[in-house]
C-alpha cells in the first residue's frame, strides 16, 4: 500500500520537524506497553492531535467498569522498573543520522561483483568425478560416435560408452554481488583513557556501526584493544576493559594487519578501520612505524581509516599531528578531535563525510 506509505512519510517528516513547523506544539507521545522477549518495553508513539472544541480534561467525570482503582497504581499496565525505550529501529536512526549530517551514501569500492568459486553446476566438461556424471550428454555423444562409425544397429539398439564420450557436470563461475563489510575498532586502553573517554568511543562507534550497517548486507565487527600490547576482544570487553599501561600503537596496527590477512581478505571485504586513542604514543619511532604500517599494509586495502583522538587528563597526544602531517590529503584518511560529547557529531560527520 504505497498510498499509506506516503502518508506515513509525511507524518514522519512532521515529527522530525522538517515540514509544518507550527504543528510541533501539538505533537505528543502516546505510550504503549509491549513485550520484547521477556522485557517490557515502553513504546512511545508520536501522536499529533489537532485542536478541536473539547471539554477541559480536568473537569467533569467519566465512567469506568470493574474495580477501578484505589490509589491509581493498578490497571492495564504492569510496567514498573524495567522499562526500555524502543522507538526507532536502528535503520531509521541511521537514516536520520544521514539526513541530519547530510552524509553521502557509501559507495562500496568496486566490489559489487566478485568472482566466487561457488557457482552452480550448470556447465559441462570432459573431465570430472564420477559423481558428477552427465548421463544424457554422455550417452548422446556415444550414440553420435556409433552412428558416425556405422556401428550402430537400429534393429538391435545398444549403446556402449567409451571414455571419450563421458561428460561431467561442472560449475560455472557466477557473478555474485556481495556487499560485505568489516569494521575494525581499535581503542587505546592505556592508563590515560578513563570511563568518560570510553563512553565517547562507545557512542561514536554505535553511530558509525549504524550508518555503515545500513549500506551493507552483513557487517562484521572486530574489536581490538591495546596499551603496550594489543589483543582482540569481544564487544562487551571492548567497552569495559580497564587496562593500564604504556601505549604502543604499532602493536595494535600489527594485530589488525594479521587479523585482516587471516580472516578478511581485501578482495572479498570492504574494510573500515577506526582507531580511538588519546594520542600519546610510546615514542616517535613507534609513531613512524605506525605510519609505515598504514602506508604499506593497511591503507591500500581499506575503504576508510578514521582516527579519533579523545582528550585525556591534562595530556594532549601528538599522534594526531603525526597522522595529519603524514596524510595531508589522502582520500581514505580522516581524523577528528573528540574532546566531549558534542564533538561526537562532528567526528562522525568527518569520518563518514566522504562517502567511503
Amino acid at each position: 500500500m504505497s498510498r499509506i506509505q506516503s502518508d506515513v512519510n509525511r507524518f514522519k517528516q512532521i515529527v522530525r520537524g522538517r515540514v509544518r513547523d507550527e504543528l510541533r506544539k501539538h505533537l505528543g507521545q502516546q505510550e504503549m506497553f509491549g513485550r520484547q522477549g521477556k522485557n517490557i518495553v515502553s513504546i512511545p508513539i508520536p501522536h499529533l492531535e489537532l485542536p478541536h472544541f473539547a471539554h477541559d480534561p480536568g473537569a467533569g467525570k467519566g465512567v469506568g467498569q470493574g474495580d477501578g482503582d484505589g490509589d491509581g497504581r493498578k490497571a492495564g499496565n504492569e510496567a514498573g522498573q524495567h522499562l526500555l525505550e524502543a522507538e526507532f529501529s536502528v535503520e531509521e536512526l541511521a537514516h536520520m543520522l544521514g539526513e541530519a549530517l547530510e552524509l553521502p551514501r557509501i559507495r562500496p569500492k568496486g566490489r559489487d561483483e566478485l568472482d566466487t568459486n561457488a557457482g552452480r553446476y550448470t556447465g559441462v566438461s570432459t573431465v570430472g568425478p564420477e559423481s558428477l556424471r552427465h548421463y544424457k550428454r554422455s550417452y548422446r555423444n556415444a550414440l553420435k560416435r556409433l552412428i558416425a562409425t556405422g556401428a550402430y544397429d537400429r534393429g538391435r539398439p545398444s549403446i556402449v560408452l567409451e571414455r571419450v564420450d563421458k561428460r561431467y557436470r561442472t560449475w560455472k563461475p557466477r557473478q555474485q554481488p556481495t556487499a560485505n563489510a568489516v569494521i575494525v575498532y581499535v581503542m587505546d586502553v592505556s592508563g590515560s583513557m578513563g570511563a568518560d573517554q570510553k563512553e565517547l568511543v562507545r557512542i561514536a562507534s554505535f553511530w558509525l556501526d549504524a550508518w555503515i550497517s545500513s549500506h551493507y548486507h552483513g557487517v562484521r565487527s572486530v574489536y581490538v584493544v591495546h596499551d603496550a600490547a594489543a589483543k582482540e576482544v569481544d564487544r562487551d570487553t571492548f567497552f569495559r576493559i580497564r587496562e593500564s599501561g604504556g601505549t604502543v600503537i604499532s602493536s595494535a596496527y600489527e594485530l589488525v594487519v594479521r587479523i585482516l590477512a587471516e580472516r578478511f581478505p581485501a578482495e572479498d571485504w570492504n574494510l573500515y578501520l577506526f582507531h580511538f586513542s588519546d594520542g600519546e604514543n610510546y615514542s616517535r619511532q613507534d609513531t613512524e612505524k605506525c605510519m609505515q604500517l598504514l602506508d604499506k599494509r593497511l591503507l591500500p586495502y581499506l575503504n576508510l581509516f578514521g582516527y579519533g583522538q579523545v582528550e585525556s587528563y591534562g595530556t594532549s597526544g601528538d599522534f594526531f599531528e603525526a597522522v595529519e602531517r603524514h596524510y595531508p590529503n589522502d582520500e581514505k584518511v580522516t581524523m577528528a578531535h573528540i574532546p566531549d560529547r558534542d564533538a561526537i557529531v562532528g567526528c562522525i560527520k568527518t569520518f563518514l563525510g566522504k562517502g567511503r
Binding site: 520484547q36 467519566g62 477501578g68 482503582d69
Partner: protein, 506 residues
C-alpha cells in the same frame, strides 16, 4: 479499488453457511463481500477507516504508524474490518485460524445488519467506497495545482471544525453538496458581493475596495431583512461552505470534509450498540450453530478476549453485548412496563417472570430505532449497573489508569455515562450570528452545561475558523463562572468578559 482477493474454498463455503444461518435468524443485509488481506493491508485499511484509499493526509500516516507498532509488539491484531456500503465489504486477516475467521464472519453479519437497519444510517451514502476514491482524486488534483502544503493547511483548518455538523440531520434528507465545480472553471471565484472573474482578472474586476463595499451593502441588507442565520446553526461546516469567501477548490474541500463527517456520524453515534449487536450475533451463531466441539475452547478464548475489560476501562463491545442480553432477558420475562417500573421490592423484581418471550423481537426493534444515547438512557437499570460494576471515575476520560471510584450511585453513573456519550463527548457549539457587530464577524455560542472548554484548543480552533471566514471569529462561553467571549481576529486571540444578561437582549 483493492485487488480482488476471493476467499479460499473452505472459507467461501463457511461464509455461505454462516450467511444462511444469519439470514435464518432474521438478520438482513446488503450483499456482503469478504476479502482476505495480510496484516499490512489490514492496518492500512484500518488507518483509512475501512476504505482502500483516502485523501492524502498525515493523519492517516499517524494512525497507520500506531497500528503497525502496536501489531509489531503483539499488542493487538485487527481481526476484521467492515464498512457501511452496498455491497458491504469486509476484510479478513490472512493467517488467522479457521475458527477465528468463522467468528469474524458471524460478527461481520451482525454489523452488516446493523448498518442496513438502524435508522441513523438511513440517509448515509451507500456508495461511499466510490465517493472516498473520488474525494482522494479531487484533493490530489488540488495538491498538484496549489501545492501539498497549502492544501494540507487548509484541510487542517477544516478538520479542526469537522465535528461542527448537525446531528439532527439524520432525520432530514441532506442533499449531497451541490456540484460546485460543475459549470464553473477553477479559475473563477464566486463569492457574495463579488463578480465572477478569472483569477488573473480578479484584482481588476473585484478590487478590494469594491469587494468591501459590496460586502457591507450585502451585510446591511441582510441585517435589515433578517438575522443571519435565522436560527442557531449546528452545521457550521455547511455554513462555511455556503457563505465563506473561499476559492472554489477550498469550497470543494470543505464539502468533502463535511460529507465524510456526515457519513461517519452515525457510526460514532451508535458504537456501543453496533459492537454489542455484532458480538451478540457472533456469540449466538457460533455457539448455537457453527462451532464444533473441538473449537469451543478456542472460541471461548477469542470471544473472552474481545469482551474482556481492562480494569477500570469501559469496553464498548462488552457494554453493548451485555445490555442487549439484558434487554432480551427482561422482555422474555416481562420485566418492563408500568407495573415493573412501579415495583419497588427488590425481591419481587428478582423473581419477576411473566414468560412474555418477547425478547428476540424487542432487540430487533431496539437495533432499528435507537442510538447509543437513547439506548443507554432507556435501558440502563440499577441492577444492570450493579451487575456490570459500572462506576463513575474521578477523571473525565475514565481511562482507568488512574480511575478512582467516585461513585457507584446509579443516578450518577447514568448521568456520567450519558454525558460521556452525548454529542460524542464533545461540547455543543452553534453558530448564532454571521454578521456580528454588523461587521460580518462570526459569532458562535457554546452551550455550557457545567463543564468549561479546553481553553488553549478553543483559541486554536478560532484561529483556524478565522482563516476560513477571513473575518474575526468569536465564541461565547463561560469560564470559571464568568461569561467570556473568546475570539481571534486574524492576528491575536481576544478575550472579553461580558454580562450575559445584558447581551441576551441583542
Amino acid at each position: 479499488m483493492m485487488k480482488q482477493n476471493p476467499l479460499p474454498l473452505e472459507l467461501a463455503l463457511a461464509q455461505e453457511r454462516i450467511e444462511k444461518i444469519a439470514a435464518d435468524f432474521g438478520l438482513t443485509f446488503f450483499r456482503t463481500v469478504f476479502e482476505m488481506v495480510d496484516y499490512r493491508q489490514m492496518n492500512a485499511l484500518a488507518a483509512y477507516g475501512g476504505f482502500p484509499t483516502r485523501y492524502p493526509h498525515y493523519r492517516f500516516g499517524m494512525e497507520y504508524n500506531q497500528l503497525s507498532k502496536s501489531y509489531e509488539y503483539g499488542l493487538h491484531k485487527i481481526y476484521e474490518m467492515v464498512i457501511n456500503n452496498d455491497p458491504t465489504y469486509a476484510y479478513l486477516l490472512e493467517g488467522n485460524t479457521m475458527l477465528d475467521q468463522k467468528l469474524v464472519m458471524a460478527h461481520v453479519y451482525g454489523h452488516a445488519d446493523f448498518f442496513r437497519n438502524n435508522m441513523y444510517f438511513s440517509q448515509t451514502n451507500r456508495k461511499m467506497i466510490d465517493a472516498m476514491a473520488n474525494h482522494a482524486t479531487r484533493i490530489r488534483r488540488y495538491q498538484e495545482r496549489y501545492g501539498v502544503e497549502r492544501v494540507e493547511r487548509f484541510i487542517d483548518a477544516c478538520l479542526s471544525v469537522e465535528d461542527l455538523i448537525d446531528p439532527a440531520s439524520i432525520f432530514r434528507r441532506t442533499s449531497p453538496p451541490r456540484e460546485l465545480s460543475a459549470g464553473l472553471e477553477e479559475e473563477e471565484t464566486m463569492v457574495p458581493g463579488r463578480m465572477p472573474a478569472k483569477s488573473y482578472m480578479d484584482r481588476y474586476v473585484n478590487p478590494p475596495e469594491y469587494v468591501r463595499q459590496q460586502r457591507e451593502k450585502l451585510a446591511k441588507r441582510k441585517e435589515e431583512t433578517r438575522k443571519f442565520p435565522r436560527h442557531p446553526e449546528r452545521d457550521v461546516l455547511g455554513f462555511m461552505m455556503e457563505h465563506a469567501p473561499l476559492d472554489n477548490w477550498e469550497r470543494d474541500v470543505v464539502g468533502i470534509i463535511r460529507e465524510e463527517a456526515y457519513y461517519f456520524l452515525p457510526q460514532r453515534q451508535t458504537k456501543v450498540m453496533n459492537e454489542g449487536w455484532a458480538s451478540y450475533w457472533h456469540s449466538r451463531i457460533m455457539t448455537g450453530k457453527v462451532l464444533t466441539d473441538a473449537e469451543v475452547i478456542d472460541y471461548a478464548d477469542h470471544h473472552s478476549g474481545t469482551v474482556a475489560t481492562q480494569p477500570g476501562r469501559l469496553n464498548p463491545y462488552k457494554l453493548g453485548l451485555e445490555l442487549f442480553r439484558d434487554i432480551e432477558r427482561r422482555w422474555d420475562m416481562g420485566q418492563f412496563g408500568p407495573a415493573w417500573e412501579a415495583c419497588e421490592s427488590m425481591a419481587e423484581r428478582n423473581n419477576w417472570d411473566r414468560k412474555t418471550g418477547a425478547g428476540r423481537d424487542k432487540i430487533f426493534e431496539v437495533r432499528r430505532i435507537h442510538s447509543d444515547i437513547t439506548f443507554l438512557d432507556e435501558f440502563l437499570t440499577p441492577e444492570f449497573c450493579d451487575a456490570q460494576r459500572l462506576f463513575v471515575s474521578k477523571n473525565k476520560d475514565g481511562k482507568g489508569q488512574k480511575a478512582v471510584v467516585a461513585s457507584r450511585e446509579f443516578k450518577e453513573v447514568k448521568q456520567a455515562m450519558l454525558f460521556q456519550f452525548s454529542n460524542g463527548g464533545r461540547p455543543v457549539i452553534e453558530l448564532v450570528d454571521a454578521n456580528y457587530a454588523n461587521r460580518s464577524e462570526l459569532l458562535l455560542r457554546h452551550r455550557h452545561v457545567g463543564v468549561d472548554l479546553r481553553w488553549d484548543w478553543a483559541a486554536d480552533v478560532l484561529a483556524q475558523l478565522n482563516r476560513i471566514w477571513r473575518r474575526p471569529v468569536r465564541l461565547e462561553t463561560a469560564r470559571d463562572g464568568k461569561s467570556v467571549r473568546l475570539g481571534h481576529d486574524g492576528q491575536n486571540v481576544t478575550e472579553e468578559v461580558f454580562d450575559k444578561k445584558k447581551a441576551a437582549g441583542s
